[in-house]
Amino acid sequence: MTPPLRPPSKKDPQKRTNPPLRPPEARSRAALGLTAAAAEGRFALQVCEECASVQYPPRDACKACLSTDLVWRDQSSSGTLLAETTVRTSTKLFFRERMPWRMGSVRLDVGPVILCHLHGDCRRDDKVTILNRLDAAGQGVLLAVPAERTDNMDDDPQLRALSADPKHRRILITDLRNPNTPALAGALLDAGAATVFLGESESWRPHANRSTLAELENVEILPLDVTDTASVEKLAGEIGGKTDILINNARFMRPGGALDRGDTAFAREEMDVNYLGLMRLAQAFGPGMCSRTGDGVNSAATWVNILSVHALSNAPEYGCFTASNAAAYSLSQSLRGEFRTSGLRVMNVFTGPTDDDWYQELPPPKVTPNALARASVAGLRQGLEDVWCGDVANEIRERWRRDPKVLERELTQGVEGA
């Protein structure tokens, strides 16, 4: 049974912070299929299109028939633990600092044998479930966990290292005024977050969220305007060293494409908040978070962006807003590269239209604040990179994967004339 994870004691400022170490990152191109599935929390393996043989480790040709037509498909994640070991010495510093490390050999019900990390509650000959998770190197790795839930299961150190669980962590949500903020803050506190910091711009302007949230325990409202570099830097100076998860939900949006607007004024605001705001936050908070990814129970773990799913392919009814989200999405990919060496993860939550004033004209389905909060917390717990929230986001993802050009053509349909 896993002992419950205790809240970390106050950090001794004289003690050296553990450096951000990483497990091995190198992979073949074929193996990155596992990483791509882990980014969405799926367990997938290569399957031969010709003879249906399931393959592992990842290959370029089928081990049964030599076909080169191998595709990644979701698989049953059930298996049996054949053998286990506790590794007590390693030449890799990441593991050396975390010894002893349990790993094992599992025969999957679908055939192949995998080597994997081992949850502390798994015993030899047990039925196990395989999770495919991103590790600190940002690569998909396999972890065997008990087939049935056990007490404090999520507190297992090897499982926790493959997640960004909010429990005992300190989290900054950048925009108090966003309609989704109360639900996000509530869900994070329910998940065991130690503190939720809420950024508030223009505090002289009254706002309903303030009265809802100001009274909550473990919530701190702090001044933050993402369009003001000095404001962002000032807050980073105050709480940058204890921000473990940053959720950027700052958003400026107006409907319409380029021709619907007479000038670029709104577009500038959209870029200033949605794109440059992300950049200012990254420049101010990124380095500090990157230096704290090895900092124990409340290490810095994940950077979260909440984006319109139309960042993938523009929706002209909100054409200019969507363009700013596409810019933010592209910047998030740059940040993934820039954060990679530290192990700090970037999680993008792609959402369809949300249930708030600016999407009032659109028909349902819409994403409620609670649904967005649930998906975000689940994504953190599973250590995801990409979360697709709501039916619209999932549908756009599927259509985009099938054919981006077809999707673009469908989204840019003209108005029926005479």
Binding site: P57, L82, R88, T89, M103, S105, V113, L115, V141
Partner: protein, 391 residues
Amino acid sequence: MGKRLGYEGIAVTAPFSTPYQRYSIETAHWWIARALRGSLRAAGLKPADLDGFSVSSFTLFPDTAVGLTQHLGLVPRWLDHIPMGGASGVVALRRAARAVQAGDADVVACVAGDTNHIDSFRNMLSSFSRFAQDASYPYGYGGPNANFALMTDRYMQEFGATREDFGRICVAQRENALKNPNAVMKKPLTLEQYLSARPIADPIALFDCVMPCAGSECFLVMSVEEATRRNLPFATIGSTIERHNAHAEDPIQLRGGWTLDIDELYSMADCSPADIDLLQTYDDYPVISMMQMEDLGFCDKGSGPEFVRTRNLTVTGDFPHNTSGGQLSAGQAGAAGGFIGLVEALRQVQGVAGGTQVKDARKALVSGFGMINYDRGVCTSAAILNSGVPA
């Protein structure tokens, strides 16, 4: 299957082991040159007398056997580079023997050598194989220790082996090593010390693991006429086998490819396990030596533990095994670990093994095992060697 051509008329001679060092500031090229020179001197040959050259090494990068010809001033008309780790000795032998039989080469030097710098082992691990990179090392980066820990764990469950059983193999080899002045390990080892050693990757502990070191090994293959003309003692080859990726469907490795080829091994050499005077197994961990005792027919599958309980594995015992101390006690010099048993067996059947000489050793079985590509060793090989009778 048709009858394979025998190895009549082939002599294996001039075994040479460069004394191993725990760490070396020299290169693989340097170590290979030392062993090559040792064998040539023993045979009274000059480098120009060689026309065949076979190399096994992990640390030659960026060179291969090709680069070594120019580096060492050799002009071979037959050249081989064997990347099979612990199986490479027997594979080098059988290829070289066929080359000499066919007349493609007259005198082949088979050499293996590696250096061991402070960081060599770590560097070698990081670029060992694609499957290991993708699917093994991310899980604790335990290297071969972790792979063999899993195999040992399962073997113990399946067949009731205990740590004492593996300890018997290690303790006997240490006793043998004390008679080999070139062995890296120089202190006696008791079963109690073995059992109480620092755990490395459960159930594997310190004395289950080899000591990586620098070293090199070499032997020559030529015709019996040539060896006789030069008045060299030699060994002959009774039979050889080689197999790769056998039993891929076994969920975990509890047997090796030898099981597919063992009948041919003994029938070609016209003998049985009872006729073998000494056995040299590939011993990077004792569990794999125990599997070889089973898979090569000295006992049934699963009775390896009982076998080592009832036999004396030392040089003077009733089942001499890894007489020079093997890799566990003499050291693992990279790819030379695939040659150490073969070169020692050549000395044994030629009666020149010195302190480790087994009395009346006429017939030796050498087996090789190599390359943990992902979760198991892929390459297996074996050869039966006989004392040469001068023509």
